[in-house]
Symmetry: C2
Subunit: 328 residues, 2 copies
């Protein structure tokens, strides 16, 4: 920096001012400094800046260590959004979403003097942990508990589930069964809520929830059971991988999809269009979630406190070939 200052014939402070877009610099000086920067290939040292300002251009993300499609997509989308805004993203994966590991990960990020932290906290335990550590640093929760009072961005699970269920009912089914995700995930709860509400709105019977986790394996097991029940003609699966397992179970039992059974999934994984048959599903807008998250975070960075805004991003129904009217 001193070299740049010397070459441009100014003080290092003026160089700093140019770098930070300070208004009170003469246009001519600004150009001279920029030229010197370019000539020397100078790049500012972020560590030094972070030291003196107490903030780095770094955003910490705490996420579960998984390759589940939803969280992974969200993370990728967020990294893209952050990069666009000039922030680097430091990812702290965590194996279990409990209090200890989360607050640990948050503290590690804080040591790095990150500008803000995003926690992808889809379970209750994760949310509790967030409540503890939130003090004194901009923090946004994604996929968390709407009851809690931290800034929060989520996919509107209930709306998606409502749309999926309604779509099946409109095709003529008498009721819709639901294979759900793990019961400690808010995603699961929201999807159950939307499904139930669609059935109740239509004045229909609500069958028992068929519990599963997110895996194709558990979908397969659930599917084996449902395939044996002739009254089951429509299933809303809590995600596409569950739907895949169900499809296989149906196929093994000779129940044709969509002729005998209609299925709707959730997530719109890239290969969903190539399931047998192509899967009708709900597509969350991860890009929008990432954008909202970044906005909320940067607003906190800029303004200090901004209350606890919540954003709920509605997903879209993608119609393919796994839904048909029931056979009478």
């Amino acid at each position: 920096m001193t070299d740049v200052a010397r070459l441009a014939g100014v003080s290092h402070q003026t160089v700093s001012r140019v770098l930070n877009g300070h208004p009170n610099v003469r246009e001519q000086t600004r150009l001279r400094v920029r030229a010197a920067i370019a000539e020397l290939g100078y790049r500012p040292n972020k560590a030094a800046r972070a030291l003196v300002t107490g903030r780095s251009q770094l955003i910490g993300v705490v996420a579960q260590n998984s390759t589940l499609y939803g969280p992974a997509s969200l993370l990728a989308a967020f990294e893209a959004a952050a990069a666009e805004a000039g922030f680097a993203v430091s990812v702290g994966r965590v194996n279990v979403l409990d209090r200890n590991s989360i607050s640990d990960a948050v503290e590690r990020h804080r040591d790095q003097r990150v500008a803000g932290i995003v926690v992808i906290a889809p379970t209750a335990s994760a949310n509790d942990a967030v409540g503890d550590v939130s003090a004194g640093i901009p923090l946004v929760t994604v996929d968390g508990d709407p009851e809690r009072s931290t800034p929060l961005v989520t996919v509107d699970q209930a709306a998606g589930a409502f749309a999926a269920t309604t779509h099946l009912l409109e095709a003529g089914h008498r009721t819709v069964w639901h294979v759900s995700g793990p019961s400690d995930w808010f995603d699961s709860l929201g999807r159950i809520r939307g499904w139930r509400s669609a059935l109740e709105t239509a004045g229909l019977e609500v069958p028992p929830v068929v519990p599963a986790d997110w895996s194709a394996a558990s979908g397969y097991r659930a599917g084996q059971m449902l395939a044996r029940m002739p009254e089951v003609t429509a299933i809303f699966a809590a995600n596409d991988h569950l739907a895949l397992g169900i499809l296989r179970a149906m196929s093994e039992r000779g129940r044709r999809v969509p002729h005998d059974v209609s299925i709707v999934g959730f997530d719109d994984v890239p290969e969903a269009a190539y399931f047998i048959p192509p899967l009708t599903t709900i597509r969350p807008d991860f890009h929008a979630v990432a954008k909202e998250t970044l906005e909320l975070l940067l607003a906190q960075v800029a303004d200090g406190e901004v209350g606890a805004p919540q954003r709920n991003v509605p997903p879209a129904l993608v119609k393919r070939d796994s839904v048909a009217p029931p056979v009478q």
Copy 2:
């Protein structure tokens, strides 16, 4: 830090020594300092340390912005490995793997004073870019060009493809067709090489490569063509999603898998066991790749130059139900 020093009745330098595990500190003093640290809840400022040492406990990863299963798994595995070794990981996603964006991402990481950089560079253009920027900072390429002389860790694509092809031949097939990934990926090239070499070793005819990208969509298109060719009885797909598309094309044309056509995939995505039928595939050991990568990187950080070691991690064959002997 000064507070800690005062409370422990030592100088701040001694605190620093305790923090960094310097040997020449009396045991009693060390304990006193540690107690003071615990009492005050002191946490060292990483930015300050990075400033003075010129290195942070941060590893930069440059990866393509995709949710492809392979790269995403690799990234997750690497983050886990790095966390275990006490490093944070800063991810710089890049939309296209060209010279500019890669060297940009690398420079951004360098500004952060990362300890080292990992580039996931599965294409030729990415590798060229890495060649340019590698100077002066520990750097390991993953999934890159074996011809190039940077430290490199890869999945042994050729060995996996060889195993897949040989497995099909051992089932009795006369030859094996290959639906390949994009031709600018080293993964694709390696898999083609292994497939070809297995056929040549067996003294068999090598059919033309059927080109595709990694998507189920392109697998479906390739499958539509192959389904019309009765002489095709065995297919090695360059990844599981391609295999999924092929499965669907076969199913639509009434060609049963594995009765009429046998298929082997690559990647072992979690849902591969729930395809119809469950897919025989090749499982890369991402965890091992991540571990080797970190080792190579830390060796560079410690020793300065270490030449250009290369590690090749062999994958495993996972047998399921998509392979059977051909119908005579």
